[in-house]
């Protein structure tokens, strides 16, 4: 029994899940209807649904970020890429004679996604070919990207009136928010592609020991291109959802600081910034923790000025729980307890 318990506690997802449950509990106490999910106008409705829907863009980016971080990299440009994709889509829709037609939106979305691929290849080129440190390489696009988005929107906030586009952000399908469905698909595909093929192992291998991987014949360069491109692609999807949700492209504010939330989600999920072993499931829990935090702030009624401090406190606790030093302290105590228990049995 205690062996099972020890195994559960030692699991890398133990503390993030505990954190999530604690947050849920706080919410439940402050707002008894927290877990209630009802159907209104044929749509699912409730706090949990809100968390999923509002957390979708962060989760989508965090999925891409997980793979980048697993290769020892980081992508700071995702917020800027999200802004660019939103700007591109909106300007295409605005420039079209029929902003409300499905074809226009399809073209706008496709072009935005294609451009994100180019941006991802650019990041991949800087990191894989020129060998620039990922944090510097993606910093370039992080700062330049918002400028590009600004050029595309010509400094305006582009407001579009296009129902099919709006549907991406706030529509429902069989009662489930579209954003949640998109996030589920991205998450599922990423998990499937990396874990059902050898891609995941190669990504981890390159993240742990690039030179050993090269000598074993792993194509590290191609792999880096792939993860940065995928990450930018994820960012673009998130950018489209964010833009569609407000039906407006704001070069300055779309996806602002979302890179930090995404990185945080990855880290809370137990993937080390030093690269190597990654957990997409962990990232999912991490993204949920972050979004639940935001919701908690509202339900508990924490004053807005204290929000950041509250968020920081929770994140600090999670990080502390996951640090190797804390883990060691815990395992030391556990080992001693187990030994003592063993001796007790032997004595009796």
């Amino acid at each position: 029994m205690s062996a099972v318990l020890a195994k559960v506690v030692a699991h890398r997802l133990f503390w993030p899940v505990v954190m999530l449950l604690i947050l849920f509990t706080i919410n439940l106490i402050a707002f008894p209807g927290f877990f209630t999910i009802s159907v209104r106008d044929g749509h699912l409705f409730g706090s949990l649904i809100d968390i999923l829907r509002n957390g979708a863009p962060t989760l989508i980016i965090a999925v891409g970020m997980t793979l980048v971080i697993a290769t020892r990299g980081i992508d700071l440009s995702v917020g800027a890429v999200a802004a660019i994709s939103g700007a591109v889509a909106c300007s295409i829709i605005l420039g079209s004679p029929e902003p409300g037609s499905l074809a226009t939106v399809a073209v706008a979305v496709s072009v935005a996604l294609l451009i994100s691929l180019v941006l991802g290849v650019w990041n991949g080129f800087l990191v894989a070919v020129l060998g620039i440190q990922p944090i510097i390489a993606t910093l370039i696009l992080m700062t330049a990207g918002r400028g590009v988005a600004m050029l595309i929107t010509e400094g305006q906030i582009l407001t579009v009136n296009s129902p099919p586009f709006k549907f991406l952000g706030s529509g429902f399908w069989f009662g489930v928010p579209i954003a949640v469905i998109i996030a589920a698909v991205v998450f599922g595909l990423a998990a499937l592609i990396t874990r059902r093929t050898a891609l995941g192992m190669f990504i981890e291998s390159v993240g742990i020991n690039p030179e050993a991987s090269r000598q074993a014949g792993v194509r590290a360069r191609g792999l880096l291109f792939a993860v940065y491109t995928f990450c930018a692609f994820c960012a673009a999807i998130a950018g489209l959802i964010l833009t569609a949700n407000t039906a407006a492209a704001d070069a300055n504010n779309t996806g602002l600081f979302i890179e930090l939330d995404a990185i945080l989600a990855v880290v809370i999920g137990g993937t080390s910034l030093a690269g190597g072993r990654y957990s997409l499931l962990g990232t999912l829990v991490g993204a949920l923790v972050i979004q639940t935090l935001v919701t908690t702030v509202y339900t508990v009624g924490i004053p807005p000025i204290a929000t950041m401090v509250f968020k920081a406190a929770v994140v600090t606790v999670v990080c502390l729980l996951q640090s190797p030093t804390t883990a060691e302290a815990f395992s030391g105590v556990r080992r001693r307890l187990a030994l003592r228990a063993g001796k007790g049995v032997a004595a009796s």
């Binding site: 093929t197 190669f202 742990i208 000598q215």
Partner: protein, 543 residues
């Protein structure tokens, strides 16, 4: 060293348990001032664990530790160091981008008014270096020195804190004979100052040269403590592995009996004028199928550099390589692998294993990379492969899901070998596959090389131990100063003959080398620039 009265370190009944493993079981260990003590045992015997118990890295579950008669319990290496127990690890843990003085004084810089007193720092480190008779500028960058010098600087750092006990963990594994002599000189002078030195090494010769007393561990248990002069080597080896060591003798006989039939053995690879600037002068090397070719030479002689060209790790800038008669350019290791050429690096930690992946992942990595990411090896096949190699190579623990970084050095090496064998190589390049691993594993790996060659695989074998090269190779290629100086059939070759070639390439006195086809010996540079001294561009040489 006759019966010294009081041991400086006394450990009694030390036990340490890890989940599922008794790493140490009631081990006694003591060290006397002014002695060099060796801790002997195979990989996994508990040597590192005992050292870590002494230095406070691990807490002990049973037993007592006394330092100069008082009970101690260190909370970590820093406390142990403050109490006078310093450790220099196998891998030099210093900062190459800081100066020598900064490295020596790191963490305990002399201060004046809160700021670092740079002059005092330089003065003190200079005095320390002088005390060890080392002519090193304290202001120079650490990274500019060879690995051997860095090791000595690490020792200087360790003894600065008034060490009573100095622990040297595999200090000689990357030093050449001159550098070892230098290290031993330093050890002897410390010994005279009354420091107790724990010298851990796999090299029996060195243990017998420098040590006064030794303690043998096996499977976490104490076998015994002996005076070195009273213990025959063969007895020591027997105590370490706990069984008669006949494997090596068997090999010797088998080596003599294997004869490659040159006439019908196809040449698998043929390097002609293959070279790389700053690495190896253009050189020729044919390797037949089923042939074991040994590369002999000092570290920095170009032996590793040449092997890396053949393995596609580095690109050649002159010459060409023919594989089965077809000229091929190897640009990446990946291409070499697709030609079934496997290169196993001497740098196991940085270029070999992927520590945080499992044994299974490490074994299938190269095979999987060759198949491409989209065609994963079925889980069942992976398990079969892993199981068969765990059994064939006797990998311990026999757990495919264990993380490789938790395995001992010898077992990591076996995992690495398994990775390369899994791609069914036609040429296996082994660069120092037996370095830093125990005798049992060494014999197993040597035996494996034979079996493979008998089955038609070509092997290029590099080892610093000339006996090993001679034992295993059908042909020996000698390198010196980045060029091939001789290519000899291993027929009556002796270590002395090889040494002579490695040292200066003059063969006129060697009538024993009947089959010697000495290459480029006249083109060799004057002897003054050649001999055993470490070269300036390499971390150091080794005999």
């Amino acid at each position: 060293m006759t019966d010294p009265a009081a041991p400086v370190v006394e450990m009694r009944g030390i036990s340490i348990e890890f989940p599922g493993v008794k790493a140490l079981d009631g081990v006694d260990f003591r060290m006397f001032p002014g002695e060099v003590h060796s801790l002997m045992g195979e990989n996994g015997a508990g040597k590192s664990t005992l050292i870590k118990a002494l230095t406070g890295v691990y807490g002990i579950d049973g037993g007592t530790i006394s330092l100069e008669g008082t009970h101690v319990a260190f909370g970590g290496p820093a406390q142990a160091q403050a109490a006078g127990i310093s450790t220099v690890y196998q891998e030099v843990n210093l900062l190459p981008n800081l100066s020598v003085a900064e490295n020596i004084m790191l963490g305990r810089e002399p201060r004046r008014f809160g700021a670092i007193d740079w002059r005092a720092m330089r003065r003190r480190s200079a005095a320390l270096l002088q005390g060890l008779n080392l002519d090193i500028d304290p202001g120079s960058l650490l990274g500019d020195h060879s690995l051997a010098v860095q090791q000595l600087i690490a020792i200087a750092r360790a003894i600065d804190v008034n060490a009573k006990v100095l622990i040297l963990d595999e200090p000689t594994s990357s030093l050449d004979s001159d550098e070892v002599a230098e290290l031993f000189r330093v050890i002897r002078s410390l010994k005279e100052q009354g420091v107790a030195i724990l010298f851990v090494s796999h090299f029996l010769d060195q243990v017998y040269e420098i040590c006064d007393r030794l303690t043998v561990l096996r499977n976490g248990k104490l076998v015994g403590e002996y005076l070195v002069e009273e213990l025959l080597r063969i007895d020591l080896v027997q105590k370490m592995i706990g069984k008669e060591l006949t494997a090596l003798d068997d090999l010797e006989q088998r080596a003599r009996s294997v004869v490659v039939d040159e006439s019908d053995a196809a040449t698998f690879v043929h390097a002609s004028k293959l070279g790389r600037r700053g690495g190896i002068q253009p050189a020729d090397l044919p390797i037949a199928a089923g042939e074991v070719v040994g590369l002999a030479g000092l570290l920095g002689s170009g032996r590793t550099e040449f092997a890396r060209l053949l393995g596609g790790i580095d690109r050649a800038d002159t010459g060409e390589l023919a594989i089965l008669g077809r000229v091929t350019r190897l640009r990446t290791p990946r291409q070499a692998i697709s030609h079934r050429i496997a290169f196993s690096s001497e740098n196991r930690r940085d270029e070999g294993i992927v520590g945080d992946l499992t044994v299974r992942d490490n074994i299938v990595l190269a095979l999987q990379a060759d198949r491409g990411w989209f065609r994963p090896i079925p889980k069942k096949r992976q398990d079969e492969l892993t199981q068969s190699y765990i059994q064939a190579l006797n990998i311990r623990p026999a757990n495919p899901d264990a993380l490789v970084r938790n395995l001992s050095g010898g077992n990591q090496q076996k995992v690495l070998l398994a990775r390369w064998l899994a791609i069914a190589p036609r040429l296996l390049i082994l660069d120092e596959p037996t370095r830093g691993i125990d005798i049992g594993a060494k014999a197993e790996i040597q035996k494996l090389v034979f079996t493979l060659a008998e089955n038609g695989m070509s092997v290029l074998f590099i080892s610093a131990e000339l006996e090993e090269v001679l034992r295993l190779s059908h042909r020996v290629v000698v390198l010196r100063d980045r060029r091939v100086v001789a290519d000899l059939e291993n027929d009556g070759l002796t270590v002395d003959a090889l040494l002579a070639l490695i040292a200066d390439g003059s063969v006129e006195a060697d009538d024993t080398l009947l089959a010697a086809s000495v290459v480029a010996s006249d083109a060799a540079p004057p002897a003054a620039s050649a001999p055993l001294a470490p070269t300036d561009h390499a971390p150091g040489g080794r005999a």
